[in-house]
Symmetry: D3
Subunit: 138 residues, 6 copies
Amino acid sequence: MIFLTRKAEFSAAHFYWNDDLSPEENEHVFGKCANRNGHGHNYTLEVTVSGEIDPVSGFVVDLKVLKDIMEHEVVGVYDHRHLNHEIPDFKTVIPTTENIAIAAWKRLDGKIPGAKLHKIRVYETPDLYADFYGQGAL
Amino acid sequence: MIFLTRKAEFSAAHFYWNDDLSPEENEHVFGKCANRNGHGHNYTLEVTVSGEIDPVSGFVVDLKVLKDIMEHEVVGVYDHRHLNHEIPDFKTVIPTTENIAIAAWKRLDGKIPGAKLHKIRVYETPDLYADFYGQGAL
Amino acid sequence: MIFLTRKAEFSAAHFYWNDDLSPEENEHVFGKCANRNGHGHNYTLEVTVSGEIDPVSGFVVDLKVLKDIMEHEVVGVYDHRHLNHEIPDFKTVIPTTENIAIAAWKRLDGKIPGAKLHKIRVYETPDLYADFYGQGAL
Amino acid sequence: MIFLTRKAEFSAAHFYWNDDLSPEENEHVFGKCANRNGHGHNYTLEVTVSGEIDPVSGFVVDLKVLKDIMEHEVVGVYDHRHLNHEIPDFKTVIPTTENIAIAAWKRLDGKIPGAKLHKIRVYETPDLYADFYGQGAL
Amino acid sequence: MIFLTRKAEFSAAHFYWNDDLSPEENEHVFGKCANRNGHGHNYTLEVTVSGEIDPVSGFVVDLKVLKDIMEHEVVGVYDHRHLNHEIPDFKTVIPTTENIAIAAWKRLDGKIPGAKLHKIRVYETPDLYADFYGQGAL
Amino acid sequence: MIFLTRKAEFSAAHFYWNDDLSPEENEHVFGKCANRNGHGHNYTLEVTVSGEIDPVSGFVVDLKVLKDIMEHEVVGVYDHRHLNHEIPDFKTVIPTTENIAIAAWKRLDGKIPGAKLHKIRVYETPDLYADFYGQGAL
């Protein structure tokens, strides 16, 4: 059993707002992230898969296939988008780093041939990241 | 004569659009950056000043003063903002990396006590940056 | 269940010395780190918490609160200090990377509202770090 | 129980090729990595050990000893070598990132005085790495 | 006048050898880099161009065009190749970091529409790089 | 003419204090850096040399020689030392980043066979660095 991790980046805008809260409450909970014009980040997505090494190829997963799946399912969908306005994953879910990690998990889980999705890590900045291992994702 | 550089980061949203062009032309020139919902980045600002070392302090510039000026003039103004919608610098100027570097120069030039602004570097991503030395700024 | 990690930095001096050993033994065990004038590092502290996402905010923990606790309990205490001479945590404990991680755990454990402290990572340099999960801390 | 990680780097050449496959199959499975002249990387090796902190030294492992073992067993062996042509570990094993991690585990396991090898991480590029915890190594 | 820099990476193998020297002299001058099986690196190429900002686009250079030229002229040519055996630039020139920078300059100079090539930087490792400004390239 | 840069790191302690100022003035000018127990940093030293490429070796400077000179003249002298107490360069000069860059210049200038010292860059942290080109060094 071995673990392989691949990184990719995307740039997106977001803001934090909960329609069930008053504007004052939103300000209080989210601070300057509540600015509804949105602000943005260069996000880094790390996808970790686990499995056995294929004795023919020496790989746990085909790296090109993994790259294409990450591009097709997450990076190409989120990149240069406004997460609140354009991505259905965040229609009723606030696009925090935590929720982006869960959304990426849902998009990738079960789609990687021959390997098991083990962890999703999302960096919002180099100093802040969330890890999700699939526990509790619907 | 010595040069001192300090870095800071801000997160902002932007998009690329020129009102003098048709939507099709904007698409053609700016690609997916023309998405008017905006997308975002973690920008890094590097400010380089030059001057003589003060024999009393050993500094070319007071580091805390430099940090405060960078925060007050640029980082605190741009951070968590939508550059196109909220920052007057980009009312008629497209917020490309190049133009952000020039705008930061205009905001900082002449405001640093005892040192001369030498260079502004702005990273849009770790793989793309612009340098401006003040030549041609109005 | 999700994991969120926040990083912060502090600069401090330290040296390695055990009063129960002779000067020669200290030299032998600690090499040039036994220089009692001290030397220093830019340390990076990574704090990982775990918990459920609050459906109102989308956060596992209030990021500003976490930042303030890290600043108040660890970064503001250790930054620009000589760990051996000025920090009581290291009065009878040698300030190795391992022991700094345990000391930071003790300072932070139980203080983060709504989340559980999961891991402390301390980098002494980019090439050397210790991880502590709370097992065995008194 | 605490975990300590040390990093080191080495530069090596490799290519991907399985003699049991036809040239066309090798091309298909390995793409441009099948170029038998080889290409190369700056690899990063991360070695994580676990154990109890020695109350005399404050260390879980003697850092200089760990560095020397990493140098003697892996870095000095692989650095500036062509993995396929010169390293017996890869005589019948394709030098993928996964297999390099397993080979480094076999070289280091049981050799670190007073601590247990916990994990080997090998970065082939900053965006691609494998983790091995010893499960299944012969 | 403004400067814009774009980075890209490629992985390649090389070795250092001068046919006019004896094997012993090659060993003496190049040390373990003289191993003729080759070893490899993840190289980083930084291309800096200078020019005036186009008032229509806000760009000094079309970023996609610059990326394509870098890919077509250098990255796609060198990536996953053995520089000594497969790249004509290094038939009679030793592929040191310095000479790779000059070779990349020759490949890119004059090919970037609307901007002037200002500098080529090549990193062989994160701790070693060469800068070339075109002075003396034939 | 080409430029080659090599990096190295050292860890040291320092504090900021001017004996000609009162304790209150030192506090005012230097803030928490005036703590006379000292604090520390992981410094990065970048040495840039310029010259012509030797047609025999392909190098502007022998990399091993450059590494040894950097180690012998600067890194080995400053590493794991308290700059104020143990390094004569800072007996009457405050060890600011600016002054460390100048001191390293004086130690290295004229000692590199076949190449000219072009620039010294010293990082105190990843976000703060000084550049010195030799202008005004005594």
